[in-house]
C-alpha cells in the first residue's frame, strides 16, 4: 500500500519536473526568437543614419540608396508573417551589402569617423542577428531533444508539446558576403 503510494508520488513529482522543464525550454526558445526580432529592428533603425551619411558622398548612387530604403520599408511592413519577413530581410541584407561595397570606392567616406562608427554598428548588428539565430537554434534543439527523448516523450505528446522548426540560414543570405571590417 505505502509502496504504491510512494511510487505514485515519485511519478507525480517526475511529471511536474519534466513538464516544468519542457515549458521552461519552450519559453527560452520563444525569448530567443524575440531576440532575433529585436536585432532585426535594430538594423532597421540604423539604416536612416547610414543613408544620411552616405548620401553626401555618393550622390551618383541614388539608385542604390533608394533600393536600401525601399528594402528597409518592405522589411518593416512585413510584420509578423515569418516567411515573408525572412525574404524581406534577406533582400535588405543584399541591398546593404551592395551599398557598403560601393562605399569602399570612396576613400573620403571610408575615412570618415562617422562612417566607420556606423559601419561597425552595422557589422555588429549583422553579427548579433547571426548569434541570436544561433542561440535560437540551440534552444530549439534543446527543446526538441527534451520532448523527443524517453521518458519525457511519454508526457510531451499528451501535453501538446510539438517540435519546433529551426531558423535555417536561407539561400539569399548565404550567398551574400558578410559585412566585415
Amino acid at each position: 500500500m505505502w509502496i504504491v503510494l510512494a511510487v505514485l508520488a515519485a511519478l507525480a513529482l517526475w511529471a511536474i519536473f519534466a513538464f516544468n522543464r519542457m515549458v521552461q525550454l519552450r519559453m527560452q526558445a520563444k525569448a530567443a526568437w524575440s531576440q532575433i526580432d529585436v536585432q532585426l529592428r535594430r538594423r532597421h533603425e540604423l539604416i536612416p543614419n547610414l543613408t544620411e551619411v552616405v548620401k553626401g558622398y555618393m550622390a551618383h548612387e541614388r539608385g542604390t540608396l533608394e533600393a536600401v530604403t525601399r528594402a528597409r520599408d518592405a522589411a518593416r511592413s512585413a510584420g509578423d508573417d515569418i516567411p515573408a519577413r525572412i525574404v524581406a530581410e534577406s533582400a535588405l541584407t543584399g541591398a546593404l551589402t551592395r551599398m557598403i561595397g560601393l562605399a569602399e570606392a570612396y576613400p573620403q567616406l571610408r575615412a570618415s569617423e562617422n562612417m566607420q562608427m556606423l559601419q561597425e554598428e552595422l557589422a555588429s548588428t549583422e553579427n548579433r542577428i547571426a548569434f541570436a539565430r544561433q542561440h535560437f537554434n540551440d534552444c530549439v534543439m534543446g527543446f526538441n531533444t527534451a520532448i523527443g527523448t524517453f521518458p519525457n516523450l511519454l508526457l510531451a505528446g499528451p501535453m501538446g508539446f510539438a517540435p519546433q522548426t529551426m531558423f535555417e540560414a536561407d539561400e539569399a543570405s548565404r550567398a551574400a558576403p558578410a559585412v566585415r571590417l
Binding site: Q116, N127, D138
Partner: protein
C-alpha cells in the same frame, strides 16, 4: 636543424569534445571529492585536536566570562567526554597492534579503527566549514574590488576600438543567451583578459587595452566568446571551489605554523580581519590568499634563523637557550607540517589541477561551439601566449585567459599555487587544432609514445628510467605512509592528551 613539422592530430567534432570533457569532468570531480575526503580523514588525526582545543578554549572563555555559563560548561564537558572516549579507543587500537603477526592479520584491526573513526568528524566538519568560508571570501573579493584595484575603467563608447569590444561582448552574450557582462578596460600594454564575479548576473569582464590593439575583430570575438562561455558555464564557481580546497589546506598548515613563524600570525590576523569587514579590499584578500598559499609551500624551517639573526651577537647564545622549551612543540609542528605538505603536494594538488585543466579545455570547446571559429581562437591564444596577468592581479592569475603555466612560474620563481593551475597554451592550441583550427608547429609538452615506440633506443631509456623511478616512488610512498602513521599516532596521543589536560 629543420623546422619542426606541424603536429598531426585526430580531428574531433566540438560536440564530441564537449561530451568527452563533460564525462571527464564528472570523473575528475568524483576523484577530487574522494581524494579530499580521504586526505581529510587522514589529516583529521592532526586537525581534530586543534579543532577541539580551539572550541574548548572558546567555550571555557565564554564560561569564565559568565555568559550562558551552564551551556558552555556542558559543551566543555561534552568535548572532554569525546576526547576521553577516543583516547580509550586509540589505546585499544595500540594494544591491538600486538595481535598483528603478519600482513594477513591486518583485518583484525578493522573493528578498532571503526571505533576510532568518529574522531575524524570534527576535523571534516571544520574542513568543510573552512572551505565554505574561504570560498565565499575569495568569491566576494574577486569582483568589483579587484576592478577598482587594477584601476580598470568602463569602455569609452566614442572610441572606435572600445565601441567594437563592447559590441562584440553584446553579440557573443546574445549567442550564449546570457546577460551581457559589464566590461572594464585596463590601460596596460599586456595582451590579456579575464572574467570575474560570482554568477552570470553580476559577471564582469576585464580586457586590457593591449588586447584591443593587438587582436583583430575575429580574434577579439573568440576571446569574448571564451570569457562569456566561462561565465555561462559557471567556471568562476569551480575556480573558487578549487582554490578553496587549496586555501583550506593552506589554512590548517598556517595554524600549525603559528609557533614557527610570525607571518603565520599576520596571515591569520588578516584572514580574520577581512572576514569581519563587510567589504574587504581586494588587496587585503589577495594578501591573505598569498599568505595561505605560502603556508602550503614555505620551506619547513622558516623564521627561526631570521629571528636569531635579529638578536645581537652576544645574546645569541642566550636566545638559543630560551628556544629550548619550544623545541618539542616545534618538532611536532614540523612533523605535522611535513605530513600535511606531502599529502597536499602528492594527493590533493594534482587532482585539483587536473579538474581545473579539464574545465579549461571544456570551456575552450564551448568557445568553439559559441563562436564557431577555432582558428581565430587559436591565433588569439598564440598572441596572448603565456602573458602575465596585469600588475596587481597575480593572485587571480587563473581567471585570466593567458596565465603563466607551471614552467614559466618556475622560471619566474613565484610561489603561487594559483598560477600553476592552467594548462599550457601549446596543449590548448593542439586541442583547438583537433576541433578544426589550422595545424601549427607548436611543440606540445609531454611524451609522444608513438615516437618512443618507433625508436628502440629511446624506448630502452624510458624503460630504464621507469625501472629506476618506480622503486624510488614506491619507497617515497612507503615513507610518506610511515611518516603519516607516526604523525597520526603523535597527533592523536599528544593532541587528545592536550585536550584532556587543558579542557
Amino acid at each position: 636543424m629543420t623546422a619542426p613539422e606541424p603536429t598531426r592530430t585526430e580531428r574531433v567534432n566540438f560536440h564530441d569534445e564537449l561530451a568527452r570533457r563533460r564525462r571527464r569532468g564528472w570523473v575528475v570531480t568524483l576523484v577530487c571529492l574522494a581524494v579530499s575526503a580521504g586526505v581529510g580523514l587522514v589529516l583529521s588525526a592532526v586537525v581534530t585536536p586543534i579543532v577541539l582545543l580551539a572550541l574548548g578554549g572558546l567555550l571555557k572563555l565564554v564560561a569564565g566570562l559568565g555568559f550562558t555559563g551552564t551551556a558552555a560548561a556542558a559543551g566543555v564537558a561534552a568535548i572532554h567526554g569525546f576526547a576521553a572516549h577516543h583516547m580509550d579507543a586509540f589505546e585499544a587500537l595500540i594494544d591491538a597492534l600486538d595481535l598483528i603477526k603478519g600482513p594477513g592479520d591486518l583485518g583484525l584491526l578493522l573493528p578498532y579503527l571503526a571505533r576510532l573513526s568518529p574522531v575524524a568528524v570534527p576535523a571534516l566538519i571544520a574542513g568543510a566549514l573552512t572551505w565554505l568560508w574561504l570560498r565565499g571570501l575569495f568569491l566576494r573579493a574577486a569582483g568589483q574590488d579587484l576592478v577598482a584595484r587594477l584601476g580598470a575603467r568602463p569602455a569609452r563608447l566614442d572610441d572606435l576600438e572600445e565601441r567594437q569590444v563592447a559590441n562584440i561582448f553584446e553579440e557573443v552574450a546574445l549567442g550564449a543567451g546570457t546577460p551581457t557582462p559589464r566590461l572594464f578596460l585596463i590601460d596596460s600594454p599586456i595582451v590579456n583578459a579575464a572574467a570575474l564575479g560570482g554568477s552570470p548576473k553580476d559577471a564582469i569582464v576585464l580586457v586590457t587595452r593591449g588586447l584591443l590593439d593587438g587582436l583583430d575583430r575575429d580574434e577579439t570575438e573568440a576571446v569574448a566568446a571564451r570569457l562569456v562561455a566561462s561565465i555561462a558555464a559557471g567556471d568562476l564557481r569551480t575556480a573558487a571551489g578549487v582554490m578553496g580546497v587549496i586555501h583550506t589546506f593552506g589554512f590548517f598548515l598556517t595554524i600549525l605554523d603559528l609557533p614557527l613563524r610570525w607571518s603565520a600570525w599576520r596571515t591569520l590576523g588578516g584572514l580574520l580581519l577581512t572576514s569581519v569587514t563587510p567589504r574587504p579590499s581586494a588587496a587585503a584578500v589577495a594578501r591573505v590568499g598569498q599568505g595561505l598559499e605560502d603556508g602550503l609551500q614555505a620551506e619547513l624551517v622558516p623564521d627561526i634563523e631570521q629571528v636569531l639573526a635579529k638578536v645581537p651577537k652576544p645574546l645569541q647564545g642566550i636566545a638559543k637557550v630560551l628556544l629550548v622549551p619550544w623545541l618539542l612543540p616545534l618538532l611536532v609542528s614540523l612533523l605535522y607540517k611535513a605530513v600535511l605538505f606531502l599529502w597536499t603536494a602528492f594527493f590533493v594538488g594534482p587532482p585539483m589541477a587536473m579538474l581545473w585543466r579539464n574545465r579549461c579545455y571544456w570551456t575552450d570547446a564551448r568557445t568553439v561551439k559559441l563562436a564557431r571559429n577555432p582558428e581565430a581562437f587559436a591565433r588569439a591564444l598564440e598572441k596572448i601566449g603565456a602573458a602575465d596577468p596585469p600588475a596587481g592581479a597575480e593572485a587571480y592569475g587563473y581567471l585570466f585567459i593567458g596565465a603563466p603555466t607551471a614552467e614559466r612560474r618556475a622560471a619566474a620563481n613565484r610561489k603561487s599555487m594559483a598560477l600553476a593551475l592552467p594548462p599550457s597554451v601549446g596543449q590548448r592550441i593542439a586541442r583547438l587544432s583537433a576541433m578544426g583550427a589550422g595545424l601549427r608547429s607548436s611543440r606540445v609538452a609531454g611524451v609522444d609514445w608513438t615516437q618512443v615506440a618507433a625508436h628502440p633506443a629511446r624506448a630502452l631509456i624510458v624503460a630504464g628510467l621507469t625501472l629506476l623511478l618506480g622503486p624510488l616512488f614506491l619507497i617515497l610512498f612507503v615513507m610518506i605512509g610511515y611518516l603519516t602513521a607516526i604523525v597520526m599516532t603523535i597527533g592523536l596521543a599528544a593532541g587528545l592528551g592536550f585536550v584532556l589536560w587543558l579542557i
